[in-house]
Symmetry: C2
Subunit: 353 residues, 2 copies
């Protein structure tokens, strides 16, 4: 009965892993040369390179990424902090991040910051350099004080915000022009003849809420239209909160003839709830959304909304981060992407016109 050698701690009878040593042996060169042939081919003569490549093929060698990373003092990963991984709004942004990152040889780690058990301290724990070479946060609510260490030159791995950002922090971010989006929405409604315009806002304290609210207010002001508290509803970007806003709208004595919702989801909730009461859009009220998620054009009615380039938001954020990681470039600015008004069927001239 053969006695199997213990190849590795905890693993018995393991097909021995092929290492760079085995390749070196097979190619008749040193491990240093094998390593160079792989990562800096130009430093190696053609002949040697070919021998090594052949040895790699014949042995079936694959680089051990962990060892390589340890030696190079990096992790080879970037970490993305997402407020809610289950929220489909983020999916295209995440895809953008992953796409841009995979192409550059990094892996992407996703962490759900709103998870039970994900207290701020635990999140901060993740933010140390042994887990990732850099961070992208889609969550603007990360406390700014400890984040400042992640500024370029701060000695910690860089962090960039995407979509949301921490107000008052000087960390770089990639975002869309939220104010401009709100202006486009309001101006579109006004152009249709609306004078009484309401708004369903996002959750309190969120930068997207603030900027879209501000854009709405400014436009209304500039056009000398009323800004009435009872026409401004508090939501949280969710379908449910849009439906709740509709209930409040229904109870109003004097109703706005058009409502601009700070997210498509709230617009759907709003329209859906109205339809339960027999009212329809845009006959009884015009509705504009924000985001242009896929379903918007297939909703009933197809939703007029503000288009966000979500995939691009992700790739831009990833590129910004990677350039910081690799070039250690300290001078990086914010990037603001433009939005676009998409006119569909949920808006029309007000009934009385």
């Amino acid at each position: 009965m053969p006695v199997w050698p213990r190849c590795r701690p905890g693993k018995i009878l393991d097909r021995k892993t092929v290492t760079i040593q085995d390749v070196a042996l097979a190619a008749g060169v040193s491990t240093a040369t094998v390593s160079r042939a792989i990562s800096s081919p130009e430093k190696v003569s053609d002949a040697t390179r070919n021998t090594v490549l052949e040895a790699i093929r014949s042995t079936g060698y694959q680089v051990n990424v962990t060892a390589s990373n340890l030696r190079r003092q990096r992790t080879g990963a970037i970490m993305v902090l997402v407020p809610d991984l289950g929220n489909p709004f983020f999916s295209r942004i995440l895809a953008g991040i992953e796409n841009a990152t995979a192409a550059r040889g990094y892996s992407v780690l996703f962490v759900d910051t709103k998870q039970p058990g994900m207290e701020p301290e635990r999140i901060v724990m993740h933010l140390n350099g042994t887990r990732a070479d850099g961070f992208i946060s889609l969550d603007g609510a990360l406390a700014g004080d400890f984040l400042s260490r992640h500024r370029p030159g701060g000695g910690q791995p860089p962090l960039v915000f995407a979509c949301e950002w921490a107000d008052g922090s000087d960390l770089p971010h990639v975002a869309i022009n939220n104010q401009s989006g709100a202006c486009l929405a309001v101006q579109h409604l006004v152009a249709l003849g609306h004078r009484r315009i309401g708004h369903v806002a996002g959750p309190d304290g969120n930068v997207l809420t603030t900027t879209r609210l501000e854009g709405t207010r400014k436009s209304l002001n500039a056009l000398e239209l009323p800004i009435r508290d009872d026409w401004f509803f508090q939501g949280d970007f969710s379908l449910q909160s849009g439906a709740e806003a509709a209930e409040k709208w229904l109870k109003l004595k004097e109703r706005p003839s058009a409502v601009f919702c700070a997210s498509d989801q709230m617009a759907f909730g709003f329209i859906s709830q109205l339809s339960l009461h027999g009212l329809s859009v845009p006959q009884d009220v015009s509705v504009v959304g924000f985001d242009d998620i896929d379903i918007a054009r297939y909703y009933i009615p197809p939703l007029t909304t503000i288009h966000q380039p979500r995939h691009k938001l992700g790739t831009k954020a990833a590129e910004l981060l990677l350039s910081q990681i690799e070039k250690q470039s300290p001078a990086v600015g914010d990037e603001i992407l433009e939005v676009e008004l998409i006119v569909r069927k949920s808006t029309a001239a007000p009934a009385g016109n």
Copy 2:
């Protein structure tokens, strides 16, 4: 002018990282003891443990995960293969995976298998043990031949399928009962009085397509209802393909009075396209979806559909995988989760009744 020591390759003037050595020094013990105090506290005396813990606090030490992983011959990560990260259908499944996995101390790597540049060979490259300790694939189209190495006992890191699976492969999977879902849909329509029932199927060759199609056929057969080729439309789960099916339905001389769509998205596309032609659901045709994505209950009309426990699908898959990784348990079976019919407003008795 001071000369800064080069602490590390490629990094000048780096605040020196705190290592286990520093903690050992501060605590007056060996590095072995520090390591034990952290990962197997029971192997260390109370007094020593406290000294070490205090030293960790005072030095601000954080474990270098890469080094630990290299030494322990693991990666500490699991990799999830997603056909399309941008597709919101997956988001809750991914959240489930992440949630279950983070709790157990693993990181989660997401890879988009439908990315340009993501040819099968590149995917297989990812499937080697130096990148992850195990894999979850949401993509059933991975070629089965090379996957067999990932079977329990196959010498490669384990792989489990979630949601989709590779037909004919004996790799474990977590999925829902697709046939049963289709049966529930058909039976519901029949109970309402429908006799002419159509189906919008998913993409060819997909296991979800096949099983849902089979469930539909079987139910129709059992109830002695017609199965007509021109009432079975080919789709691909997308909104767009649902809209295309609606166009075909409109051109039919004899139309089914109810249509069961193999995804909610196709149902939305179908209903939306009909509405463009002035037809409405359920007055002109009843529609059932599949998935119960969040928007389903806020669609107009709220969509009758088959509910999938997507978050649970993710957590179950993660648990199955982790149990294989950790216990190296070779005996793992498939797990089939049950679905549920959610009756809302897109279905009603046929017009002629």
